[in-house]
């Protein structure tokens, strides 16, 4: 669902606009709408989520109607239409991962972070959610963290703890 309560006004930087232009150049003349998914990824990497204002500006940039952006952004699960934690831990919850302990790992993440699936920790640092098959079943259980979608494989409780602690430290030093 689109966020109506929260809306972050954005001003795309020149660097970002250059990346948009580079993306649009990949497609034939008049087919700039093909750049929509790559551009939404760029915007989300920059701001952490897709506010209505950001989507409206993407629509204006691509010369399409805002609804064409909303319907796409709400269809694909990778796009966040609500603000999330700085680090979103996305753990695979599909069959093969569950054969080797993904459900136990999800419970552990919930306990470790102290928030339910989809919620944000009080310090604004973390969210987590179960996602569908990440195509890494041989290295299960697995989780990923955007915007670079770094992978963490063969998870154990210890590895999760270590990862969360490292991210907390990283956030403090920045």
């Amino acid at each position: 669902m689109l966020s109506v309560k929260e809306n972050t006004t954005v001003e795309f930087s020149l660097t970002l606009l250059d990346k948009f232009a580079e993306t649009v150049a990949r497609y034939p003349e008049g087919r700039q709408k093909s750049a929509l998914l790559p551009i939404l990824h760029l915007v989300q990497a920059e701001y952490g989520w897709l506010s209505v204002d950001a989507m409206d500006k993407v629509a204006a940039y691509l010369d399409i109607r805002p609804i064409e952006v909303y319907e796409v952004a709400s269809f694909y699960t990778m796009f966040f239409l609500q603000p999330k934690g700085k680090y979103v831990l996305e753990i695979c919850r599909t069959g093969p991962c569950c054969l080797v302990g993904a459900e136990r790992m999800m419970q552990h993440i919930e306990d470790k972070l102290g928030v339910k699936e989809g919620e944000v920790t009080a310090d604004g640092l973390f969210s987590w959610r179960g996602v569908e098959c990440l195509a890494a079943c041989g290295y299960a259980p697995v989780l990923q963290i955007g915007p670079e979608y770094t992978f963490y494989e063969n998870l154990t409780e210890e590895k999760v703890d270590q990862l969360v602690d490292e991210l907390k430290q990283k956030a403090q030093t920045k």
């Binding site: 998914l37 939404l40 699960t77 599909t94 093969p96 569950c98 195509a135 041989g138």
Partner: protein
Amino acid sequence: MARKLLLAHIDVPGIHTFDVYRQNGGYRAVEKALRTMSPDEVVEEVKKSGLRGRGGAGFPTGMKWGFLAKPEGVPRYLVCNGDESEPGTFKDRFLMTHIPHALIEGMIVSSYALGANTSYIYIRGEMMPQIRIVEKAIAEAKAAGFLGKNILGTGYDLEIHVQPGGGAYICGEETALLESLEGERGNPRIKPPFPAVAGLYGCPTVVNNVESIAATVPIVNDGGEEYAKIGIERSTGTKLISASGNLVRPGVYEIEMGLPMEEFIYSDEYCGGIPNGKRLKAVVAGGSSVPILPTHLALKTANGEPRLMTYESLADGGFVTGTAMGSGGFIAFDEDQCIVRNTLNFTRFYHHESCGQCSPCREGTGWMEKVLHKIEYGYGDISDIDLLWDIQQKIDGHTICPLGDASAWPVASAIRHFRDEFEWHILHPEEAQTRNYGLVTEGVMSSE
């Protein structure tokens, strides 16, 4: 040792770089095809090879290429399907991570054969690291003169672009993928027209899986007939198998078609058996969509023949006692796994991934999930089994794309082969919360 065509050099340090790939014989197929063969001759070799689509459907690649319409003055496109999302499948991720130039070389050869001057590699968005790797490989190949204008001085021009997905299983279906590439929701299109006639931007388009495209490299290098010598019957060449679940050594293996499944599971050259001394309960041989088989039907066909890793042998017995090669996503279940819980998990997956266009799939997957949830958590009624059977029948074959079928088959096969376990779950709701049903050996419960 089995022959390897795609992963022959996988252990060479630095094989992901252009220089090392080239030193190990890389890009010879591009030189051979562009300098000594016409596009039609390349198509002919792929036809002779008997290569079948490695994404799941197993449709002959050469024949698919042969259907491509070639109207004057209209661009043609090759689109690589790297939206690998079928649960149990991770071979394309492996290939793109470790030997990305095999994909780029295959893209150049295939684009040349099809007369495409712009080609796209659609990679699922979660694979951002692989997107970066493939983009780097494209840049390296371009710097070396294998991409861009007038490749190797032959007059052939080609640009390859990478397109990220957005997290949607449905975009692995080729027309949904094209919709997504055009910046739309991933709703599959009604066929006909097939992409070969009206695909990307309404132009003739071929969509091929990552592994199929990479396989054109050895086919061009050694000739289609050489490739077809590997394998059995209409299952030629080698296949990447993604092995997961309860196995000593899960991972990606390149097998020669025809390998007995028993050898694949238990031999030390492959998965090394089931960990912790457990027994094998069931196998999903080709990704979550294909029918699940209990061990006795996985290792041997209903006629008692050894089950081989070929399209034909896996399908022996149809969906009554057989299964399908699918994407080669091989999932092993040990004796402690619960079939009801796994069926619920897979069904939840299909419900989540249904695009919502066709009501049998949109509503049916949700109903199946609810009924399975009820059984798994101890509120099932014995009539729910027949209800599930009824729902899956009403989905199967009644939707625009195969996602509906894919959601029906795991449910149908689980009930067909593990009905006793469903009944036990329903009749012993409290016990089912604390322990699993155990192993079934040809219909006999062995754990009691």
